[in-house]
């Protein structure tokens, strides 16, 4: 029985928060783009690093990505969500105070990032660099935003949830899960921490997060904004509401699985790579469904494309969405990834999405929204048109340059001569060949940034010509309660059928031949019964779904289940890998039980105190943004960098440093490849050892000092995460660190170079010289030991070997 009360009331929307987020979007957009232009310039002209640590590429690049994602798009997203949510729900945001807490909290986080990242305070994981106190602040502010949003949902005056709101729900729920899981760190001080995951686990969790930051921060909320603002601008409803339903559920379910496509051909277990690739390919369909839904909304309004800059920006944004979501799955195909990964192609792909989709949606939304928020007309349509054309040309120059560079680099670095050896053995040759396109990328970036200044002028003049508007709506507030509504949902026939089909399908997967045949028959019967049932009782089914659309709690739970399924089944098996990866010592040989799980001929050693400090400096300077530590199993890679990387080699790496881009060569096995003096000179002036390099000088490492008194505490924290440091290791940490530093100093003194043993330079040299030297083969293997190993392996039951 449904109980309905009706109250007439006027709702006054809170647009002050929307205006605040709009201002923030415009300001941070300028900062993000300017930083992008600066670091693009640094790649062309290394001198622009200015020999200043906090202006070096490795530190500014994370600032650029964070500013673009969380400051620019983040504020735009909040402006769009706050504006559209109130109107779609016909109610004011639940709490003005929470809205303002959200706004100022988010700006404080951005300012904190702008201070800490140039100082080298980072966690060393892409798009998740911010240190742990800021991570906690993000969680608090995000939860406040979520409370305000769901509270507004609860007090709404519109029963049905429009599709845009579904995307907002998915965004809030998923980002919460992603941020919490990926930010689990063990602090060693107020400004430093180690992730609880290491190596392959850290890589999988990070790219599960990283890819879904793109999906649920840069895509789903913007799709929600598209579903609201595109119909508003075109003054016609969305092309197909039905298609938007399929688009939403397919996207939400599929996106979460796709993260491993960032780790193809790495040491990630093969099945996870394949899963990531398959789901990425499946994403093609819903993504293009969404794009077509957006574009076809303009049916009958295409004439506006000639005259209305808002429609121009939105239409091109949706087109770029289609292009980026075509290119993403394409790059996820393993053979394409083999060519494109680690090259500028990925940078081009990312900017096609960031500039073409996110920024153009932002521009379209701002040009539509600002005149309405200030109740005036856009100051200059011509200026907006000019902005459109200049920025479009800017994007095209940018992404074409990166495509050309990416494919060229991929081909260049894999080219073999007739004898099967590298045609271009010196990595620097590919960098030299990329110079021209780096210049073209810079021109494109400058055009995009320059045209953005036109937007600032135009919107500033628009705001000056109007005054703050207050919008209101007379509504008939409906307070509806359905006794037993949630229970009705749970015992509805769609739930019963779905559960039964899932159970039988699982039975089909794990049972023997006869049971499988019965299960298959049952499955077919059930599917037919479900279709007939829904078809014959469509009214009843419609009623059930109407309940879901009107029940935000159940809807949110369903979204949570959809995103958790993919995350759990990919991550959990990899998390147990610690217990099964062979990590052994020679002492284990002869112990049959130990041999069962530790039959590897390799021995993994944790980093020494000085190497650990050097590693922290490597992370601080952002070396991973240009150098990978992951050699893929290709001939051209093993010839160039050494033997391919193995999963156990990074088992103690908190955080992993596999990287995602090679502006410089891979460093996995750089240890021992060059003399200590070479590393010293390379750090002081990279061009002295590598003519043509665009790497910044790191001369400040010579004068910087490490605090070895704190190293034992760091090692202690790592030992809590499973790194096998002993009490003796901790007690001798300071002395051992200094001793290793003295060896490096003594080596350099012979070459007439003075270096303090506790300098940051000594530490990073120690770390670089260690890379690739562990785990080390247990050599020599006496014949007796080998026989014992073989014998022990032979005695192990097959079920044990297979982990059963």
């Amino acid at each position: 029985m449904e109980v309905t009360r009706e109250l007439k009331r006027q709702v006054v929307y809170d647009d002050d928060a929307v205006r605040a987020f709009t201002y923030a979007t415009i300001v941070w957009g300028a900062v993000a783009l300017l930083l992008g232009v600066l670091i693009a310039s640094q790649l062309s002209f290394w001198q622009l690093n200015l020999n200043i640590s906090w202006l070096s590429f490795g530190r500014l690049r994370p600032l650029h990505t964070n500013a673009a994602i969380f400051a620019f798009v983040g504020n735009m997203m909040f402006a769009g969500i706050y504006y559209s949510t109130q109107r779609l729900l016909k109610t004011r945001m639940a709490s003005d105070k929470l809205s303002w807490f959200h706004f100022w909290g988010w700006q404080l986080i951005i300012v904190s990032a702008a201070v800490t990242l140039p100082l080298g305070l980072t966690q060393g994981k892409e798009y998740a660099e911010l240190i742990w106190p800021i991570d906690i602040a993000i969680a608090v502010v995000w939860v406040v935003f979520g409370i305000n949003f769901f509270w507004t949902l609860a007090k709404r005056n519109e029963q049905n949830l429009y599709v845009a709101l579904w995307f907002y729900i998915a965004t809030i729920v998923t980002i919460t899960v992603l941020h919490v899981v990926n930010s689990l760190h063990l602090p060693t001080s107020f400004l430093h921490s180690y992730p609880i995951y290491a190596g392959v686990q850290d890589a999988l969790v990070q790219w599960w997060y990283g890819h879904n930051a793109v999906a649920f921060f840069l895509t789903t909320p913007i799709l929600g904004i598209m579903y609201y603002f595109l119909p508003k601008a075109a003054e016609r409803p969305i092309y197909s509401y039905r298609l938007s339903v399929v688009h939403f559920w397919s996207l939400v379910f599929l996106y979460i699985w796709a993260g491993p496509h960032h780790l193809l051909y790495t040491a990630l277990p093969d099945w996870a790579q394949t899963l990531g690739m398959i789901f990425s390919l499946m994403l093609w369909a819903p993504s293009w469904g969404g794009m077509l839904n957006g574009l076809l909304t303009l049916r009958g309004a295409w004439d506006k494309l000639r005259t209305d800059p808002v429609i121009k920006f939105l239409a091109v944004a949706v087109t770029f969405y289609g292009m980026s979501t075509f290119e993403g799955p394409l790059l996820s195909i393993k053979s394409v990834s083999a060519l494109g990964h680690y090259t500028d192609w990925i940078i081009g792909h990312a900017h096609g999405g960031a500039l073409g989709w996110n920024a153009f949606m932002t521009f379209g939304m701002l040009y539509w929204l600002v005149p309405r928020l200030w109740k005036t007309q856009l100051w200059s349509t011509k200026l907006a048109e000019t902005h459109f054309w200049l920025s479009t040309v800017g994007i095209l120059l940018y992404i074409v340059a990166m495509w050309v560079n990416g494919v060229s680099q991929g081909l260049f670095l894999r080219a073999l001569d007739v004898d099967g050896f590298l045609k271009y053995p010196d990595f620097i040759e590919s960098l030299r060949a990329s110079r021209f396109m780096y210049g073209m990328r810079l021109v494109g970036g400058l055009l995009f940034f320059g045209s953005y200044l036109l937007l600032i002028i135009n919107l500033w003049a628009t705001i000056r010509s109007g005054s703050k508007a207050t919008s209101s709506l007379d509504v008939v507030a409906r307070s509806t309660s359905t006794p037993g509504g949630n229970w009705r949902l749970l015992r509805g026939s769609p739930v019963i059928y779905s559960l039964a089909i899932i159970l039988i399908a699982v039975l089909l997967g794990i049972s023997g031949v006869v049971t499988s045949a019965v299960a298959l028959a049952l499955l077919v019967i059930l599917v037919i019964a479900a279709i007939l049932s829904f078809g014959l009782e469509s009214k009843k089914t419609a009623g059930w779904h109407q309940l879901i659309e009107g029940n935000s709690l159940v809807f949110t739970i369903l979204v949570l289940v959809a995103i958790l399924v993919g995350g759990i089944v990919e991550i959990i098996p990899t998390l147990v890998i610690t217990h099964e990866v062979p990590v052994t010592t020679t002492a284990a040989v002869g112990d049959s039980l130990a041999v069962q799980v530790t039959s590897s001929p390799f021995k993994q050693k944790p980093f020494s105190p000085l190497e650990l400090e050097g590693r922290d400096i490597y992370v601080r300077e952002g070396c991973y943004v240009c150098h990978s530590q992951m050699i893929r199993p290709f001939r051209h890679e093993t010839l160039r960098y050494g033997d391919y990387s193995r999963v156990e080699e990074s088992i103690y790496n908190h955080p992993f440093q596999w990287g995602s881009k090679r502006t410089g060569p891979d460093l996995q096995r750089v240890g021992g490849k060059y003399a200590t003096l070479w590393h010293y000179l390379h750090m002081m002036d990279p061009r002295s050892t590598s003519p043509g390099s665009n790497m910044p000088s790191y001369h400040w490492l010579k004068d910087g000092r490490i605090d070895l008194t704190h190293t034992a505490h760091k090692m202690d924290m790592l030992s809590k995460l499973g790194v096998p440091y002993t009490a003796e290791d901790l007690a001798a940490a300071q002395e051992n660190g200094l001793s290793q530093g003295r060896l490096i100093r003594d080596d350099l003194v012979q070459q007439s170079v003075e270096l303090a043993p506790d300098s940051e330079m000594a530490a990073i040299i120690a770390y670089l010289q260690r890379l690739g030297l562990g785990p080390q083969p247990i050599r020599p293997d006496p014949p007796a030991v080998s026989q014992a190993l073989d014998q022990s392996n032979a005695n192990i039951p097959t079920s044990v070997k297979e982990g059963r």
Binding site: R9, T91, K232, D270, S471, P633
Partner: protein
Amino acid sequence: MFQDFHAHSRLLIWPLIGLVIFLVSFIGVLLYVFFGLHDRTKVEKLSRLPLETEVTTTRVKPEGRAS
């Protein structure tokens, strides 16, 4: 190769179960779209939700909460 790690692990049943859940959910969504959303009037009403008009005025007095 260590990339083959878990290749025979029973844990790998979970990705398959995940795939099944996706398949069933997807079929469920399709059934909903084809059979549940057959009411044209309702679909039209839902898709027109963003197009509702509102009254906009410039601010002349301190803004209050919804009355």
